[in-house]
């Protein structure tokens, strides 16, 4: 079985995000970048399937600037076999990302696509579902458990209020939620080995995809700042404020 894992380079989740003073976006200069945490979970799941001999080849793919090669190297260090970098300076929105992935899938014919449920930069949570619709493949979104059995799989999904299990035939699209697994760290020898693994470089144009800005950014602003409130001296005072003044309890 072949697995494709899309990975996105995003701002590290521990970094405090700063809005640019001209309100055109978020400051990404000299900021620590990393693989999107949900994509790390997707890579980990693919590697576990390979360790269980369910999968024999993992391809990681990233769409973005040449720096996304670092993110692909991270995936290769954890256990992906090869990488594809779709290089573009433009910011690809989810529908175009899904179209690029569809073209790659039509060529490479993976049996399973494992991808993060959302990227922690734009928080769209769309690409997996869009890709599934474009390919007319089944989708198992927000996965917290995955059991591959021959040509089909059971996926347990995190839904509001609990869990839901679906069964679907391969090929399928799975998007990962937090509980699916805990990603490993790459070992130093594996980081060294990853440098030798192949990365194919192409552009959206090679795939006949035009990157459109369907959603135009008008303004990026800081959220309203909350003013620090007051310290109360007793629980009685607190409950009285919440009950009598704020009327929230």
């Amino acid at each position: 079985m072949k697995i494709l894992v899309p990975v996105k380079r995003v701002i590290d989740y521990n970094v405090k995000v700063k809005v640019k003073s001209d309100n055109t976006g978020v400051d990404l200069e000299n900021v620590k970048m990393a693989m999107n945490p949900f994509d790390e979970i997707a890579v980990e799941e693919a590697v576990r399937l390979k360790e269980k001999k369910v999968c024999d080849e993992i391809t990681a793919i990233s769409i973005g600037s040449s720096k996304s090669e670092e993110t692909l190297r991270t995936a290769l260090a954890v256990g992906a076999d090869k990488g594809i970098l779709v290089e573009t300076q433009e910011e690809a929105q989810p529908l175009e990302v899904a179209k690029i992935l569809m073209e790659i899938i039509n060529k490479n014919k993976p049996d399973l696509v494992l991808m993060g449920k959302q990227a922690i930069d734009d928080d769209s949570n769309q690409t997996g579902q869009m890709l599934s619709a474009l390919l007319n493949w089944p989708q198992g979104t927000f996965a917290s458990k995955l059991e591959v059995k021959g040509k089909s799989l059971n996926v347990t999904r995190e839904i509001d209020g609990g869990l839901e299990t679906l069964n679907m035939d391969l090929p399928a699209i799975i998007t990962t939620d937090l509980r699916l697994n805990e990603p490993r760290y790459a070992s130093l020898p594996n980081i060294m080995k990853a440098k030798q693994k192949p990365i194919e470089k192409i552009t959206p144009k090679d795939l006949n995809i035009e990157i459109k800005q369907r959603l135009k950014t008008l303004k990026v602003t800081e959220p309203d700042k909350k003013e620090a409130g007051i310290k109360v001296d007793s629980v009685e005072e607190l409950v009285s404020k919440l009950h009598n003044e704020e009327k929230v309890i």
Binding site: P94, M130, S132, I159, L178, K216
Partner: protein, 314 residues
């Protein structure tokens, strides 16, 4: 053109998330229609028809819609899409699962999790887990939108007299099959729907001590949450996690107990209306965003809090 709302329900009752979504739809246009896809869901369509401002409710009643499988629902929405300029669903796991499919099949962008509406093509949505707000303009002819329900009032289920129109089901795409549901049996509300949340952090010291929070939660009809530190320490399961990589919440009241206030956690709860922090460290960053703070030992404060709540409840 009218606006169409995809109704979230459990085949018995409309979910509150749909009522907030209807309000958002009414901000876009006066003419609001709704669609109910379910099985034995006539009660839901009646409720929707009574919602203030709904002109027409389309209902397709069939087994293929029973479990809200995205692949089964989205073709029907695409079929209806012709007549609408905007199609809205709540930004719940239900809406998030379906709407990107609808958008892709219509070859338009999807706009996720809007918190305000500037005009028919301009919306505001949080990015970077709410650390920034993006005002965007859609250049597509159709807008496929999910709505952050905490930012819109709920429409009342009275005053409306929408026409109920039965529609045919679509063909079963036979892609995903429902196996089972394991819904939390807790009487407590879901984190993302709760009006009050009480969350514990590393300061709780153990999973067992979360009993103290649960006791208070039950008295306030609140949900119980946790910081990533508490989840990583194994105190509670991952689905308790409030934060950038967990659940993003905005209740009326958020009580943070023994939570220092890492960026990761603040990003998931800072839009709460009233924030209370209980922490022994008066320098903890959580106090910078708290409306009310108490510095002290949570193991003394929580039992007192429980007693004080009894007083106002009695």
């Amino acid at each position: 053109m009218s606006v169409l709302v995809i109704i979230e329900h459990d085949n018995q009752n409309i979910k509150n998330s749909s009522l907030n979504t209807i309000t958002a739809a009414k901000e876009i246009d006066n003419s609001v229609h709704a669609v109910v896809l379910g099985e034995n869901c006539s009660k839901v369509s009646e409720q929707v028809s009574k919602c203030d401002g709904i002109e027409e409710v389309f209902v397709a009643d069939d087994l293929i819609y029973k479990n809200h499988i995205a692949e089964n629902i989205s073709p029907k929405i695409v079929e209806l899409a012709d007549k609408y300029s905007h199609i809205l669903a709540p930004s719940s796991t239900f809406g998030k699962n379906i709407m990107p499919r609808v958008a892709a099949l219509l070859d338009v962008a999807q706009i996720s999790d809007i918190v305000s509406i500037e005009n028919k093509d301009t919306f505001v949505r949080p990015i970077y887990a709410g650390n920034a707000n993006l005002k965007l303009q859609s250049t597509d002819t159709k807008k496929i939108i999910t709505v952050r329900t905490t930012n819109f009032e709920a429409t009342k289920i009275n005053g409306g007299n929408g026409k109920i129109t039965k529609i045919e089901k679509n063909e079963d795409p036979n892609l995903s099959k429902f196996v089972k549901n394991e819904l939390n049996k807790s009487d407590r509300p879901e984190l993302t729907a709760a009006g009050i949340i009480i969350s514990g952090g590393r300061g709780m010291e153990s999973g067992k001590n979360f009993n103290l929070l649960e006791e208070i939660a039950d008295k306030l009809k609140a949900a119980v949450g946790a910081s990533r530190a508490a989840v990583d320490a194994g105190f509670v399961p991952n689905d308790y996690q409030v934060g950038q990589t967990g659940k993003v919440v905005a209740p009326e009241l958020y009580i943070a107990v023994g939570i220092s206030g890492a960026i990761q956690h603040l990003a998931g709860m800072k839009d709460s209306k009233i924030i209370v922090a209980i922490n022994k460290d008066e320098e903890a960053p959580i106090f910078q965003i708290a409306d009310y703070g108490i510095v002290g030992d949570l193991f003394k404060i929580l039992p007192e809090l429980s007693k004080e709540i009894d007083k106002i409840n009695s």
